[in-house]
Symmetry: C3
Subunit: 115 residues, 3 copies
């Protein structure tokens, strides 16, 4: 099975496709000072990334969400619920963790189906 990489940086690829499965890197916000704003931005990026690999949010299989303050769970989740809408959502795990840069409040990685 071929491996295809998207958004290739020196240290990571934003997405890697193997067969019918896409692995997305931990995505972080390009801006935003609240968890809601950062989550909105990350989910926009994930939409774009999924489109690029030939998938979409309806084909998400699993997601990992890290929050620097688990007390912001509801704030993140509200944005998530608006995004996932009426779709059947992926498997998910959300835990607290400090992230690579101090002003980051949330990071999301995912696995998605291509077809």
């Amino acid at each position: 099975m071929a491996i295809a990489r998207y958004g290739v940086k020196s240290h990571l690829s934003l997405a890697v496709v193997h067969g019918n499965t896409a692995y997305l890197s931990g995505h972080i916000a390009r801006g935003g000072t609240t968890v809601a704003e950062q989550t909105t931005d990350i989910l926009e990026q994930i939409d774009e990334q999924l489109a690029e690999v030939g998938s979409d949010r309806s084909k998400l299989l699993s997601a990992n969400i890290w929050l620097t303050d688990i007390g912001t769970f509801s704030e993140m989740n509200e944005v998530w619920l608006g995004w996932i809408g009426e779709l059947d959502p992926p498997a998910r795990a959300t835990v607290e963790a400090n992230l690579a840069v101090p002003n980051l409040l949330v990071e999301i990685s995912a696995v998605a189906a291509i077809d």
Copy 2:
């Protein structure tokens, strides 16, 4: 390949099956005040979830375990060892993390084979 979802909530599905692979959400205890009790309860839920998707604990491929206090590693692991028994265990990573609700002490997600 079809995607099948089980235990569908608004924000996550407890399990998502894609082809021959099942992705299980981070499972948390329904009760129990010790790590041993919570781990026992989570592994019961995972057994039930794996049965529902047509898998079982002998077909686990990988697991992620989060402990709110990494000092409880041995307490969690003792329950895990009793559960996995003589089976060849999955790949696993165990790290410390605060979880979504304060009284939660352990959370486990997994990937399993369907056949």
Copy 3:
């Protein structure tokens, strides 16, 4: 699809192969007192593990990296960049977490393609 396990311990297998996908446990250093030393050792182990399952670092699909001090991100990443070299890297997420043993500074799990 057959499941093959490698480096089987009582509580985990260092690698589990299902179809064309290999799941690697969270790998920790066998020695080293700095993040750079420990990362070097872990990546050596991952090379050996990938070879054993019939893969190699060019076929990594995703990796999770945990650092006990996220302030060591650059130190870890420098070793990683030297290791991944000119290859297209996997998807990756790096977060902070305390690990199972106090002197551990870094842990890395991965998913890789077999072919």
